[in-house]
Amino acid sequence: MENTRQITTIQAAAILVSTIIGVGVLPLPLFAVRAGDAGAPLVTFLGMLVGFIGLMLISLLGMRFPKQSFVQYSEAIIGKWLAAIGTLLLIAFFAILTSLAAREFGEVVVTSVLKNTPLEVTVIVMLLLAAVSTRNNLVTFSYIHLFYFPFLLGPALLIVALSLKNADVINLQPVWGNDQTHMLPGILTIAALFQGSFVMTIVIPGMCDPKKSMKASFIAMLIAGGMYVAIVIAAVGVFGSEEIKNLLWPTLELAKATSLPANILERLDAAFLAVWVTAVFTTLFSSYYLTIRFISNLFRLKDHNMFSFFLLPFVFIMAVIPQNILQMYEIIADVGRIGLFITVGYPAFLFIISLIRGKRGDRDGTQQTNPAS
């Protein structure tokens, strides 16, 4: 066997960032503005903090059990059957998350660029792309994320930078917004956009130095969260909060309002959407990979490849269940909030139990629990 512990801190951070940043960026300013008007950047920032707490818990758990996968140490902490239920919930949740992300992006593409192409085609293409790519090992998984990392940051930062010259500071004041009543659910909605960070659970066992996973999480949250906040600032600064409420995908509209200097490209929306395919791909790829990894961990299978196409029809069917775009967004909001219990609550629960029961996997765990490859 080759050495599987190859993932460096930078790679881990890249995996996290490109997993977090995905199709959720497109409606992000809308969610934030609905919650906090001019205080949207603040809402985003708070949402990021909530997301970071979840990620921190996962990193702490991973550092306690650096040699085991999440499924293994959850079994060690709360027992086999309870852990199996938790894992099944996680599998189901990430399968749904994958399908909803594919569906959401399909909707964006069909609404704005490929108007006559059947939605099913765009969804299945994205899912196939993710499924084909999951037939790789963890090292290639990290390579793929590392490679696409600049392609996520580049276009987003470009659009933010180009649009900031049209921004008006007045639109961003007062920084805490005029109306704080909807803030809390808004924070949770935005925190739900950070759920992809759960992928850290499968990254940690492959890291060269699991001790650095906290550093990786911190860097990743800084980059991803910083980009979210920057995009919200740019969108609110350019459009003003009231106009954003009129827009389904303010980030896309931002790209539409931006033109490259010297009119090389007159509007960037189609180009941005095209580049954004990579961002959506990495998100789908991560959540799909996570699902498949968890299944193979749960059933103690060596090879996860067989599931990648087996699961595809189920994910696809879930993706086409929502009847229209508004219903889809309601489902996404609901699933996101429920998901917070799974992706933040469950690790928190595990962490507390492991503290109480004094279970550790980093010192003496090798003898007690048989670490798998």
Binding site: L114, K115, T117, V125, E242
Partner: protein, 408 residues
């Protein structure tokens, strides 16, 4: 080895199986020459509806709005020469044939466009829509439907120009200025260059949408008229209250508006009177700076507007004035200052009467005095009322910097 190869083969087969159906459809492929590239749209009141047009109305229960006449300007592929030199000097003369102007009526913009589409072989394509002209009469009734249609359509760009025409908007679509091969592009260039020369604020359709929905701000649009040389003149700003146009400003007031907004570059000129019939000096503004403070006095917002302008001497009428020492510049500054304040006040009073806060003073209140806003204002309608009672102080600073190449 053999096992994994088999799997790979099966995988390949599956991929082929899945891609073959994809090959059958190029759902969205629409060649550029098959698209009717709409460069400009004008929207008028329907006016007289011909019998032919009546035939095309097929809706059983029409909405209770008045009919609109939509005119589109379509670029004819093949008529506009490729490259600069290819077909010689016929670029100016050939304008009539490069575009096709079509019109149709309908109950809404979309309805009219649908009627129009029925007359056309190729699909209307709005990706290059640069100019939307709405006649003043339609604008005074409200732009709700127009805003909604163009907002919803993903092809329309936010950098298109929306303007209000004095009189018929269709006439502008038919106007054929001599300078550009494509008239609409000339219209667009008029405004784009206006921005660069400091004659007009950068106010694309996207900015208008943003401004008009803001709680403490109203939208404004260029107000254009056609001149006899078939060219277009920006004759002021049309300002709105919500979706309805409520008034227009004069041309010079655009400069005042830009001064209060502190927009750069600055390009307006003004005559300064130095106390004599021929003692006029023409001054040009080169740079503007503004700062607005808001205070709440007696439960009403009071704004102090600090404006600082940099101006330069451009011409004088006669040799009666000698611009040779600093004190005369001081005089010029004083005179221009008083004139400027008068124009600013006039403009603000005018908009106050109509309750149309195109300057975004309300946004200032919302941003800087959130406590006051949350308790006393909250909605757009309240602010429209309160704006009428707002008070303004001016403190204008003029700085003559340069006098040109002449020593006196």
């Amino acid at each position: 080895m053999g096992h994994s190869k088999l799997i790979r083969l099966v995988k390949l087969f599956l991929v082929i199986l899945l891609t073959v159906p994809l090959l059958s459809g190029c759902w969205d492929r629409l060649e550029i020459e098959e698209r009717a590239v709409v460069l400009g749209i004008s929207i008028d009141e329907a006016g007289e509806i011909s019998n032919e047009e009546k035939d095309s109305q097929i809706i059983q229960k029409p909405p209770a709005t008045s009919m609109v006449r939509v005119t589109v300007q379509i670029a004819l592929p093949g008529r506009i020469p490729l490259g600069p030199g290819e077909s010689g000097g016929s670029s100016g003369a050939g304008t009539q044939e490069t575009l096709w102007v079509l019109d149709s009526v309908g109950h809404s913009v979309d309805d009219a466009l649908m009627n129009l589409q029925q007359q056309l072989s190729s699909r209307l394509f709005f990706g290059h829509l640069r100019v939307i002209i709405v006649s003043e009469r339609v604008a005074r009734k409200g732009l709700e439907n127009i805003n909604d249609y163009f907002h919803r359509n993903s092809e329309v760009r936010r950098m298109a120009w929306l303007m209000i025409s004095k009189g018929s908007a269709k006439a502008l679509m038919k106007a054929a200025p001599k300078l550009e091969r494509v008239p609409t592009l000339y219209l667009m260039a008029t405004l784009d260059e206006g921005i660069r020369m400091g004659k007009f604020p950068s106010n694309y359709i996207g900015n208008f949408w943003s401004n008009s929905v803001k709680l403490g701000e109203e939208g404004y649009l260029p107000y254009v008229a056609i001149r006899k040389e078939q060219n277009i003149r920006v004759s002021g700003l049309a300002y709105f209250k919500g979706n309805k146009m409520v008034g227009t400003t004069s041309e010079n007031q655009i400069g005042a508006f830009m001064g209060i907004k502190g927009m750069n570059p600055a390009g307006y000129r003004i005559f300064v009177d130095l106390g004599g019939p021929m003692k006029n000096v023409m001054m040009t503004t080169t740079h503007r700076d503004k700062k607005i403070d808001v205070r709440i006095v007696n439960g009403r917002p009071r704004f102090t507007i600090h404006i600082s302008l940099e101006i330069g001497v451009e011409e004088k009428m006669s040799e009666e004035v000698a611009i040779s020492n600093a004190s005369i510049l001081k005089q010029i500054e004083e005179d221009e200052k008083s004139k400027a304040i008068k124009i600013y006040q006039q403009l603000i009073e005018m908009t106050q009467e109509d309750g149309s806060d195109i300057f975004g003073f309300g946004e200032m209140v919302r941003a800087k005095k959130p406590g006051y806003w949350n308790t006393r204002v909250r909605t757009k309608e309240r602010w429209q009322e309160m704006y009428k009672e707002a008070e303004f102080d001016f403190s204008v600073q003029m700085n003559v910097r340069r006098v040109g190449m002449k020593a006196k």
